[in-house]
Symmetry: C2
Subunit: 208 residues, 2 copies
Amino acid sequence: MQQKPKRPRTRIEDIRRVELIDAAHRIFLKEGLRGLTSTKICSEAGLSQGILTYYFKDKEEVLFEMVRMNNRILANEIVLNLRRAHSGWERLMALIDGNFPAQRFDKQAASAWVSLYAEASHNERYARLLRPYYRRLRSNVSSILRPYLEQDKIDHFNLGFAAMIDGLWLRRGHADIDLSLAQAKSVLIDYVEKALPHEVIRLLSEPN
Amino acid sequence: MQQKPKRPRTRIEDIRRVELIDAAHRIFLKEGLRGLTSTKICSEAGLSQGILTYYFKDKEEVLFEMVRMNNRILANEIVLNLRRAHSGWERLMALIDGNFPAQRFDKQAASAWVSLYAEASHNERYARLLRPYYRRLRSNVSSILRPYLEQDKIDHFNLGFAAMIDGLWLRRGHADIDLSLAQAKSVLIDYVEKALPHEVIRLLSEPN
DNA sequence: CAAAATTTTGTTAAAGCGTACAAAAAATTG
DNA sequence: CAATTTTTTGTACGCTTTAACAAAATTTTG
C-alpha cells in the first residue's frame, strides 16, 4: 500500500482545490451526479481539463470532498441552532430547521442530493459518505428524547422522522409539485406533534 | 412528422420484446438505472446486442415499456385490493399494501426505483413516466377521504402520506439499516392513524 | 536565470449507443 | 418445388463521451 508522497500544501494548491470543489458543487446542483464530469468541473472553474488530476487523485475525490464539505457546513449550522435552543422541543425544531435550510431547499438541490442517494444504494463508497449524516441525526434525536421515551419507541419515531425528511426532499425534486419550504416543515412538525405522546411533548416544552 | 410504418406484429416480435423487457427489468433491479446498458440487456436475454434496436427504437423505449408494465401490474393489484375492502379504512390499508408489495419490498427493488426517481428529477421524459403513479395515489386517497374532510386537509394529508411512502422506500435502499416490510408498514399506519382526526377514523371504519 | 511548481494541450483507452450490413430463415411465387 | 423475395436475426463497426495520463509549455521562486 504505497501512500502518495505528501509534500506540504502550497497556498495555490489549497486555492485550486477549493475552486475545483466549488465548481463541482455548482455543476452538481445544476446537473446532478450524472452530469458531473471532469471536463465540466474544470471549465466551470475556469481551468483547463488536465488540472483536476494534478490536484486530486481522480474525479471521485473531488466529489467526496464536496460532500464532506457540505456535511460539515450542515452539521455546524445544526450545532449552532441547537445551542440557541432552550428546551427539548426547541431542539427538535432546530433539527428540522437544520434539515431544511431556507437558502438551499430548492428543486435543484433536492434533485442533486437525491441523485447522490440513489448512487449510494448501489455503491458502498458513496453510502459511507452519507452515513455520518444519518448517524448524527439519529444521535441528536435520541439525546433529545432519551429522558422521556424508551429506546425502542425512540427508534420507531426516528425511522418515521428520517423517512419523512427524505421523502419531503424527494418530493421537492419533482417538477409537477411545488412544495414550499413552509409546507414541508409544516408536514414534518405535524408529524412530530402527533407521533410523540402528548405527555412527552409537554415535558419537552419545559425550558431547561 | 413521419410515423414509423407499422407492420403487423409477428409472434416472434412480441416474444422478443417481452424477453428484452424482462431482461431489462432483471438488470435494472440488480444494477439500477446506471447499470442498465443495451449490451447487458441483450446478453441477459440471451440475444446479441444489436437486436435491441431492431425491436425497439432505442434503449429508452425498452426502459419505458418496463416501467409502464410495472405501473400496470401495481395498479391492477391495488384495484383488486380496493375491491375487496369493505370500509374506507380498509381501502386506506389496501393502498398501503399496494405500495409495499410483500414480494417486492427489498433492498434491490428500492435502490433501483430510487435511481429512476433521481433521474426523473433531471429529465422530463422520465418524470412523465412516473406521474400516473402519483396521480393515481392522490386520486385514490382523495376519493376515500372526500366525504369526511375538506380538500385542503386532504391535500395536506396526501403530501405527508406520499412523502412517507417515498421516504420509507428510500431508506429501504440503504445498506446499513435493515428495514423490514412490517416495520415500514407499521410506521406508515401509525402516521395515518395520527394524522387523521379521530372522528374521521371512526367514520372510515364503518363498513359500507 | 535555473530549478521547481503550475498549467495547458494532446493522447490513450474504455464504455456505450446506434447503424449498417451480412447471414439465416421463412414466405411467396411462377 | 425450386427460385426469388421478404423478414428476421446476429455481427461488426464507427462515433461520441469520458477519465486518466503524459508531455510540453509557462509561470513562479529562490
